[in-house]
């Protein structure tokens, strides 16, 4: 599997490259900032890009923006975001456009070589990875008591699984041979059953998906 690494700290990107090679990956190149990374991806089309969220010049969310750009240009390339903070917000932004082939991990998880290579492989094969710390922040309080997922009907569970694949309402309706309206009704019911409140920035869809992924 071919991997590109973007991180502004030389000690980390070189270390990461070494670890990945140790684990049997082919590292096609390393990049120190977002522009360099985009160019590297363009040139070598890796299977997975590992991206630090915070990169020059502003050291805010350049990595996240680069990840979104890569996803738009090359939907097939898996993205594994690394962050030093548990920002559920960034995970939501990343997952909003579909959950296949994306991951969000705390940086320190790279210490566990097995976990790292498992995560890279999963993302590379179109799966998704979400750091346990982020998941517990997003769905932690909803896990008290019984698992609400069990209360979903089979049809609702089917709709939720298709949502997790990043499909739109229209696509889900086509796939299940039902009307858009019916799909909307199912989704509303799913939100209610999972007790997802209406938030100012409505990302219940992502939260439902995260809940679903977490239970898998």
């Amino acid at each position: 599997m071919r991997v590109a690494v973007g991180d502004d700290a030389v000690i980390l990107r070189e270390g990461l490259a070494r670890l990945l090679e140790e684990a049997g990956f082919e590292v096609v190149g390393v990049a120190a900032d977002a522009d360099e990374l985009l160019e590297l991806v363009e040139r070598s089309e890796p299977d997975v890009a590992i991206v630090d969220i915070r990169m020059p010049p502003t050291h805010t969310d350049e990595g996240l923006r680069a990840a979104k750009a890569i996803r738009e240009a090359h939907p097939a390339i898996g993205i594994l975001l690394l962050s030093q903070h548990v920002h559920a917000r960034y995970a939501i932004e990343l997952l909003s456009s579909g959950t296949d082939g994306v991951g969000y991990l705390l940086k320190e998880r790279v210490a566990d070589l097995d976990e790292l290579s498992a995560s890279v492989r999963r993302v590379g094969k179109g799966g998704s990875v979400l750091d346990p710390a982020v998941v517990s922040q997003l769905v932690g309080r909803r896990r008290q008591g019984d698992n609400p997922l069990e209360q979903l009907t089979d049809r609702e569970r089917e709709v939720l699984a298709l949502m997790a694949e990043g499909r739109s309402n229209k696509a889900i309706a086509d796939r299940l041979f039902v009307s858009d309206h019916t799909v909307e009704k199912h989704i509303k019911s799913i939100f209610g059953t999972l007790r997802l409140p209406l938030s100012p920035d409505d990302h219940r869809r992502v939260l439902a998906v995260v809940t679903y992924l977490d239970s898998e």
């Binding site: 700290a9 000690i11 980390l12 270390g15 990461l16 070494r18 670890l19 140790e22 915070r54 050291h59 805010t60 969310d61 030093q84 903070h85 548990v86 920002h87 559920a88 917000r89 705390l106 940086k107 320190e108 790279v110 210490a111 566990d112 070589l113 790292l116 922040q137 997003l138 309080r141 409140p197 938030s199 100012p200 920035d201």
Partner: protein
């Protein structure tokens, strides 16, 4: 000096009696004869008012000028004499008083001429009244000097050309009319340009002066046309002329009366006053509605307004003047007033003396307010400096310590994978190190997030608060009505306020849930955090919830540093509501 003025009184009496007698028993028939009553009235008005003014204001040239003009007026009556030497002198100085009169009206109220044009007018007036008269006398006598009969001999006649003499006198009268109209316009323009207090000073003298000038102009024109109006214009002229010195003295007396308002001021200042009242009272006493007050702020060696803002001392070209008020040799206040008050420094001094104590009181209050303004600014700077420092520390930890720890973790991971099964006893040690390192990284992560919320800078207040609520140890409901980015310091203050209030609720409220509400109304951001716990929180920490007090104090400080308001409502048993209103100027 003043005593010597009384020596002039007998001289004036003699001159007046002589001139009046000459006017009453006129031997010669001269044009524009004032007659005995007007002779006495004009001369007495000039000399009496002149002496009074001279006595009251020795430094002002108007007084001596009026007295001199009065004597010259009387001397002009010698032209009525039949005796040759007296007649000759009389005719020579017959119209010199006109030059004196022009000087008086132009130089009022200071007694100083104001510019080149003033000086030119005076020179022309003297040249016309004395120069042309004497020139005519060199050529003519009798009819040549416009004598209607019974005149004395002209002792300084050198040539015999009455035609030329009459022509010279015609030139003199045309010049006189032009001069008069110029002075009249000049005075009128000056009055129109004057400020309100200045106008009050000028009006009476301007009216009398302009009436005199107008009457003089009519008299001269009438005379040039062969006196179709007989002696009426001349009589009006003399009558109005007599009014000018009276108007001058009346204006000076009124100034002195204005000082009587100082007594009223003293009474008024006995009562407690607000700053605006003090200003109004002083403005009334000084007759200058535009008066402003500034107070000395010794800590920064400058003047400030009543509410503590800096004041600039007006420069010489600013159209404003300042007078410093001192007590015991140190400045306490400054009056910013109209330049007209400069001519009345006596009144200003009296008012300053009367208001000294009240001004000192106001100064102390202004100083207090200035210190408050300064204190608020420095509080804001401290908060800003703290925020900048937090950002720097977070950045250093992120770029330095965290990266290095992660790199060590990677090395340990690599080491673990390299350990051969034979070196099995090393594996637990490596894992132990990895666990300790993971804990250290987690702690560091919590710490840096608490020091400076990166998400706030990157995504704004609503999203940062959303994340905050997600992490809170209690179910937190967030309601945000805000769709714009606000100034950094406002967002930061609101964020820390919510963060601290939330952790207070989690730690101390024993409640089940907490509501966070944020609303923005154009000028004010309101943040409210309400829990359903036991209540009893207080800023001093004296309430039922020990330990929360200092945190609340910090919240209040942060909000108040931005000029905001912090309120707390925490009745025992009924939850706690913390509310911050932050202005977003």
């Amino acid at each position: 000096m003043r005593a010597k003025l009384f020596l002039l009184v007998p001289a004036a009496l003699v001159a007046g009696a002589g001139a009046t007698w000459l006017a009453a028993n006129a031997g010669a028939n001269r044009p524009t004869e004032p007659g005995p009553y007007l002779t006495l009235l004009v001369g007495a008005s000039l000399i009496v008012c002149g002496l009074a003014s001279w006595h009251a204001r020795p430094e002002n040239r108007l007084g001596p000028m009026m007295v001199l003009t009065g004597f010259v007026w009387f001397a002009g009556l010698l032209s009525e004499a039949t005796d040759a030497p007296l007649y000759t002198v009389g005719v020579a100085v017959e119209y010199v008083f006109v030059a004196g009169f022009v000087y008086i009206v132009l130089s009022f109220p200071s007694g100083q001429l104001r510019g080149m044009l003033d000086r030119v007018l005076i020179v022309v007036a003297v040249a016309g009244a004395l120069g042309l008269q004497v020139a005519a006398m060199l050529f003519g006598s009798g009819r040549g000097l416009r004598c209607g009969g019974g005149c004395g001999d002209n002792l300084i006649q050198v040539f015999h050309d009455n035609g030329l003499a009459v022509a010279l006198l015609d030139v003199q009268r045309v010049l006189g009319a032009a001069l008069t109209l110029t002075a009249l316009s000049l005075l009128t323009i000056r009055w129109m340009r004057a400020s309100r207090p200045e106008r009050r000073e000028l009006t009476w003298v301007l009216l009398a002066g302009n009436a005199t000038l107008l009457a003089l102009a009519v008299t001269v024109v009438d005379d040039l046309l062969g006196t179709p109006l007989n002696s009426t214009p001349a009589n009006v002229w003399f009558l109005t002329l007599a009014l000018v010195p009276i108007a001058i003295v009346a204006t000076f007396v009124r100034r002195r009366l204005a000082r009587g308002s100082v007594a009223g001021l003293v009474v008024q200042l006995g009562e407690p006053t607000a700053p605006a009242d003090l200003r109004a009272a002083l403005a009334r006493a000084l007759g200058d509605p535009s008066l402003e007050l500034a107070y000395w702020f010794p800590a920064e060696a400058r003047y400030v307004t009543g509410d503590g803002r800096p004041v600039k001392v007006p420069g010489p070209d600013s159209g404003r003047r300042s007078t410093t008020v001192e007590r015991d040799g140190t400045p306490i206040a400054m009056l910013l007033h109209d330049p007209a008050l400069e001519h009345n420094s006596g009144l200003v001094q009296s008012v300053c003396a009367a208001a000294g104590l009240a001004l000192e009181n106001e100064r102390l209050q202004a100083e207090l307010r200035a210190r408050l303004v300064e204190l608020n600014a420095s509080r804001g700077r401290l908060v800003a400096a703290t925020d900048a420092e937090r950002r720097r520390i977070e950045r250093n930890l992120h770029d330095g310590t965290q990266q290095r720890l992660v790199s060590i973790a990677m090395s340990l991971g690599l080491l673990e994978s390299k350990l051969a099964p034979a070196q099995g006893e090393a594996a637990p040690i490596v894992r132990e190190a990895q666990t300790a390192l993971a804990l250290a990284l987690e702690e560091l992560r919590e710490l840096t997030q608490g020091i400076h919320p990166t998400l706030l800078v990157e995504r704004g207040l609503p999203i940062a608060l959303e994340e905050l609520c997600r992490r809170a140890g209690l179910p937190a409901h967030l309601e945000v009505d805000l769709d714009v980015r606000l100034p950094d310091q406002v967002e930061t203050a609101a964020y820390y306020f919510a963060s601290e209030a939330l952790s207070n609720a989690v730690k101390h409220s024993h409640g089940n849930e907490v509501r966070v509400e944020v609303a923005y109304h154009g000028t004010t951001l309101t943040v409210q955090i309400a829990d359903d716990g036991i209540g009893g929180a207080a800023i001093g920490g004296a309430g039922g919830r020990a330990g929360s007090g200092s945190g609340l104090r910090g919240l209040a400080d942060r909000v108040e540093a931005l000029g905001g308001q912090f309120t707390i409502s925490s009745p025992p048993g009924r939850g706690t509501r913390l509310r911050a209103e932050i202005p977003c100027a």
